[in-house]
């Protein structure tokens, strides 16, 4: 990569528009290239300054409303009904390799992630509830936050199981089982399938509460379907 090509990559990298592989390759390129790091730092500073200036006082040019912003109807922009925020599973699907997007996810939902809520209350009453997840990738990586303001969420630890239904045995034959999950300081459970890849299809999930003497009690269960939409 020459300097001209690197210059053209700088903004894409800073704005996190690269996929994981591209970002890693660019990082390997600039790691020992002080000139490129200078440009990166300057561009990062410019970006930060623009954001700060925009938040503190209007800049001389009004920000134009764009199609992207106008069309963005994801849940965190819409606000959630009270019942949903009280009891739900938020499923975050990462479109490609996990690492880059997972780190983005740490700082809050990103417009590039698909997030949906799975209300636990409905799931309990309708065990076969199916939620379809439109997605443009053939393989998905899954993380879940389980909001646990349910009456029965009083256990010292939890187990979450996810198993494929009606899939070829070689694919996802074994269920994912996450033991010893504990509520975090926001009273949420975080479930991360790591680098395991979820293929499209139907899955049964079960959330179990574990008492101090390791007795299991089902808190919630249901079915979730990951369906591709091209």
């Amino acid at each position: 990569m020459d300097n001209m090509a690197a210059n053209q990559q700088i903004e894409r990298y800073l704005l996190r528009q690269m996929d994981e592989q591209e970002a890693s390759e660019f990082e390997a390129y600039y790691l020992s290239n002080n000139e490129c790091i200078d440009q990166l730092e300057m561009a990062e500073r410019l970006l930060e300054g623009l954001r700060f200036a925009k938040d503190s006082q209007p800049l001389s040019t009004p920000i134009i409303a764009t199609k992207k912003a106008a069309n963005d109807s994801r849940w965190w922009r819409k606000g959630l009904p009270v019942w949903a925020s009280a009891a739900m599973v938020m499923i975050t699907l990462f479109p490609s390799l996990m690492m880059y997007n997972e780190l983005k996810q740490q700082s809050g939902p990103s417009a590039e992630l698909s997030v949906l809520s799975l209300p636990l209350t409905e799931t309990r009453s309708a065990d076969q509830q199916v939620i379809k997840v439109p997605f443009s990738e053939q393989r998905m990586i899954l993380s879940m936050f389980v909001d646990t303001e349910l009456e029965q969420m009083v256990h010292p630890s939890y187990t979450f199981e996810l198993s494929a239904i009606n899939q070829v045995k070689s694919q996802n034959a074994n269920p994912w089982i996450f033991n010893q999950l504990k509520l975090d300081h926001n009273d949420m459970l975080y479930i991360d399938l790591g680098k395991s890849v979820v293929t499209p299809g139907s899955y049964r999930f079960t959330l179990l509460g574990l008492s101090e003497n390791n007795e299991k009690r089902e808190v919630s269960s249901g079915t979730v379907t990951f369906e591709l939409q091209h």
Partner: protein, 189 residues
């Protein structure tokens, strides 16, 4: 000497037990490691912590001959740093945070007075930069690209610009920003 040649030379010297080569390796790559970790974590203090662990592991593996293709040293360092960061996030999500744990958490310095002042200075420089941009089109282009995070192609289409022209506007803005920054902040940084 190309990056691949420099990397090969460093690894070979480290394998021979040359400790100055280890020092040279850290000096050569550490600035980039810190930048990538800070970019990925958005947390300066955490990036510094993770970089220490990254270097410990990289040195251990290079000494042990675990890096097969010596010319890929930088990719190896990047991957190790990413793994360390990922492990940090996994462990922090899977472990219940107690009050004692919280006391040990790293603190992001972004709200410290020095950083607030830096942001204020940044905003001043940026406002000047924006006011200096020659045409309303260039101002809009910068705003839409950086703040609205719109796709380069769609912006080019709207303004009937070539990608080359677009890149020039960005490059000029960055260069001018650098001049203004040095002029405004001078040797304070």
């Amino acid at each position: 000497m190309t990056e691949a040649q420099a990397a090969e030379s460093l690894v070979e010297r480290i394998l021979k037990g040359d400790q100055t080569a280890e020092q040279e390796m850290v000096e050569r790559y550490n600035r980039g490691v810190l930048f990538m970790l800070r970019h990925r974590s958005k947390n300066r203090a955490l990036a510094e912590d993770i970089s220490q662990e990254t270097w410990r592991i990289v040195l251990q593996k290079v000494r042990a001959g675990d890096l097969k293709d010596h010319s890929k040293l930088s990719a190896f360092i990047v991957q190790t740093a990413k793994n360390q960061l990922l492990m940090h996030y996994r462990s922090s999500h899977q472990t219940k945070v107690t009050l004692d744990d919280k006391a040990d958490e790293t603190v992001d310095m972004s709200d410290q007075p020095q950083q607030v002042l830096e942001k204020y200075n940044l905003a001043q420089v940026v406002k000047k930069l924006v006011s200096e941009l020659k045409t309303p089109r260039d101002r809009e282009l910068i705003m839409r690209f950086y703040l609205q995070e719109e796709d380069k192609q769609s912006i080019c289409q709207d303004y009937q610009l070539s990608e080359l022209h677009f890149n020039r506007v960005l490059f000029r803005a960055r260069q001018r920003f650098k001049e203004l920054w040095v002029e405004h902040i001078g040797e304070h940084r």
